[in-house]
Amino acid sequence: MSENSPDSSGKIGYVVLGATKAEGGTRTVSFRLGGESDLPFIGMNTGQGSIPLVAFEICDDPEYWSPIVTSYTGDLSNDAREWAGVAEKQYGADIIRLYLTSTKRRGFDNFSSITTVMEEVLSGTGLPLVVEGSNEPAIDSDVFQRCGEAGEGERLLLGTAEAGRYRSVAAAALAYHHSVLAQSPIDINLAKQLNILLREIGVKADHIMIDPYTGTLGYGFEYSYSVMERIRSAALKGDTDLAMPMITSATDSLSVKEVREADPAALEDIAVEWEFYAALSSAIAGSSVVCVRHPKTVPLLKSAFRELWAGKMPGEA
């Protein structure tokens, strides 16, 4: 450990996302996140930790997606299978994060369609998946059950668990051996509390990722940035209830005034920079996976991480 570390002994725990054939799944790659025992981008010369990964966010019903993205992708966003494939092969994402936005439709009850979408996306890409189930507590249990089952063996990250609303997602994760994305509202104590709740009902620490909730640039980002730094510091000081890798997504980036109302000629550039500035800063504050929605942000982040990272690359022993 370097002399720059806060006083201590702690270490970020590991979480594995995705399972290859040899590991019982069908993914072409899997990632072991975590393992850092120093501040972000510092201890890597000593061979610890892993390079931050970039997740590209897609959805199964683009009506609920930013027009900035859908006007860029065109018809592609109507086909989650193909979109996932393009995100892997053309955008260069490491992970696909699928939002089941179709469940937002009023009175949604077509649960078998979830299984279909899951199967399509799993066949469209070989990358590990993060899956965001329903937004509506009444149908959580049905939705998560289908997601979990369709992805059995693939070591998904299932989201989103929140205080007061984590049982359905945790049950599906436990039943089919997935990990849980645990989101708390920009508050280190609530993050800790949720992790404890999850562990009490049987979710193991190495199956939890922390989402501290990311306000976008100019809209609360400073709070999120500091909560990430606090969580990372607490983990390094030995708090095992906070020693899980973090996943962050400034999901409002494409809808804030500065971006939405930008001059049409500059709109795409502003959208990309707004995501890039928040995502790179989140990684600097300690996030292991950063999620973005604009295709052009992915290669920017990947090159920035490669430029900053001196440690092991994924897959290297």
């Binding site: 370097s2 002399e3 720059n4 501040l39 972000p40 981008f41 510092i42 010369n45 609920y64 937002k104 009023r106 937004n135 205080a163 007061g164 509202p185 920009i186 508050d187 609530l190 909730y213 306000g215 640039l217 100019g218 809209y219 609360g220 980002f221 400073e222 709070y223 940035y225 500091s226 730094e229 606090r230 510091s233 409002d252 809808s255 804030v256 005034k257 500065e258 939405r260 500059a266 550039d269 502003i270 990309v272 920079e273 707004w274 890039f276 500035y277 928040a278 790179l280 800063s281 600097i284 504050a285 920017l300 090159s303 920035a304 430029e307 900053l308 990272w309 001196a310």
Partner: protein, 445 residues
């Protein structure tokens, strides 16, 4: 080594005369111990004590002022490694590069842009900080001419003179030396003549060396020449080295374990393939002065917003005044949407409501600046607050209906609010982005 307040107190005159602006010598000593006092304020201190105290009571990171007039800025004087431990005080100056190989027109355009470009965000005016004039011609006259072009714009923006050759540097300083430009940069080979120039013109000086150890040695040599207003150049060959080096400098200087590194950091982002990435690193991690090529419009807003975010005081909740805020031209039948007085929540929700084009009232209740999620969890947002706020802002006379839309995250409170107020509660979406859709589908007046 830092002295404790009591050790400092022993060295003070103990007159308790208040001339330093503090009520007693002891409180003055406590201020000095925390690095925030100014020794010069006590007129009765004997020179011996002054010498002892001088070294150990200056702020752990030297305060360095750059430029003069309205646009001058200061960097350094920071006390913590993480902003949540207290706050960061002095945001980095972002300086746009120009070259003495450019035409006068090009130099003038960049300078004027720095002079006039600004964005207003959350009531604050955000601007870039100055111009960095780089000597690429190798010619003193050409450099002086370029400096002259910047000066002639009359923008009075702070400058960095980027010339390693002391003769060239001097030619530039002759044009603008009265305006406290930052001199870049002294190395082990050039520090003597450059320190002499820094002294002559009262300018701060950047020092460059291959690693932190050599930088520390160089600052001591500069101190011996009488120069204390220094910046450390951490623009090492690989951007990878920046975060570890900047963190080590910050950590050692605040612990005062390496006073020779107790200076603000200088970062030249133009030498890296990804200038934006370097700029983000500098803003997030401790830079005092950052040189960049003029930023694109998209990067400009993002960079200034990030700098504002990182340098906002984290202890201070950002609040709106509670009350009723109309959006569009609402009438007696228009919907009323309750939310909290966390200003970012307000601005986000307001943005979506405006674009939904449904005239409505925003009903802002006082959660002491907490977000909806946190206010619900902490019990700050509760039925009694809603009841009292309805009375206080006279909502009952403002609209003829009795329906209140609450944020999705406040749904656990819906029953209690109905009981307490007699209003019908409708649970809105959790995500502000969905509010337009929600109103279109759910609101029938």
């Amino acid at each position: 080594m830092a002295l404790k307040a009591l050790d400092i107190y022993k060295l003070l005159p103990k007159k308790n005369c208040k001339e330093c602006g503090d009520p007693t010598c002891l409180t003055f000593a406590m201020k000095l111990a925390s690095g925030k006092g100014d020794l010069e304020k006590c007129p009765y201190l004997d020179p011996g004590a002054k010498n002892i105290l001088g070294a150990s009571t200056r702020p752990p990171i030297q305060l360095v002022k750059i430029g003069v007039g309205e646009r001058r800025f200061a960097v350094g004087e920071e006390f913590v490694l993480f902003r949540h431990e207290k706050t960061f005080y002095h945001p980095p100056g972002i300086m746009f590069e120009v070259s003495d190989l450019w035409s006068g027109k090009e130099i003038e355009a960049v300078t004027r842009r720095v002079g006039s470009e600004h964005y207003v965000r959350v009531g604050t005016d955000l601007t870039f900080s100055g111009v960095a004039i780089r000597n690429e011609s190798g010619d003193p006259d050409q450099f002086a001419e370029a400096v002259g072009v910047v000066e002639a714009t009359g923008t009075h923006v702070p400058e960095v003179l980027m010339a390693h050759d002391p003769a060239v540097q001097e030619a530039g300083l002759k044009k603008c030396g009265n305006f406290r430009p930052l001199i870049y940069s002294a190395t082990i080979d050039s520090y003597k003549p450059l320190c002499a120039l820094a002294k002559k013109f009262g300018s701060p000086l950047v020092v460059s060396a291959k690693d932190l150890l050599s930088l520390g040695e160089l600052t001591k040599l500069c101190n011996a020449e009488g120069i204390n207003d220094l910046l450390l150049d951490l623009s090492f060959p690989s951007l990878r080295e920046y975060i570890p080096a900047a963190t080590e400098v910050r950590q050692k200087s605040i612990l005062r374990s390496a006073p020779e590194l107790g200076y603000p950091v200088f970062l030249d982002t133009t030498r890296y393939p990804m200038q934006d990435a370097a700029l983000i690193l500098g803003i997030d991690k401790y830079a005092g002065v950052i040189v960049t090529r003029a930023l694109s419009p998209a990067s400009s807003v993002a960079a200034l917003t990030l700098r504002q975010n990182i340098y906002t005081d984290p202890q201070k909740p950002i609040q709106m005044n509670p009350g009723i805020y109309p959006v569009g031209n609402p009438g007696k039948e228009s919907p009323v949407l309750l939310t909290v007085n966390f200003s970012l929540t307000y601005f986000t929700v307001q943005g979506y409501l405006e674009s939904s084009r449904v005239p409505c009232y925003m009903f802002i209740v006082d959660t002491e600046g907490l977000s909806v999620l946190t206010a619900v969890a902490a019990g700050k947002l509760n039925e009694a607050l809603v009841r009292d706020s309805i009375k206080k802002f006279d909502l009952e006379h403002l609209v003829s209906h009795r329906r209140l839309i609450i944020p999705g995250y406040a749904s656990p409170l819906s029953g209690k609010i109905e009981e307490e107020t007699g209003w019908k509660v409708l649970v809105g979406p959790r995500d502000a982005a969905e509010i337009g859709d929600y109103l279109a589908k759910e609101w029938k007046s």
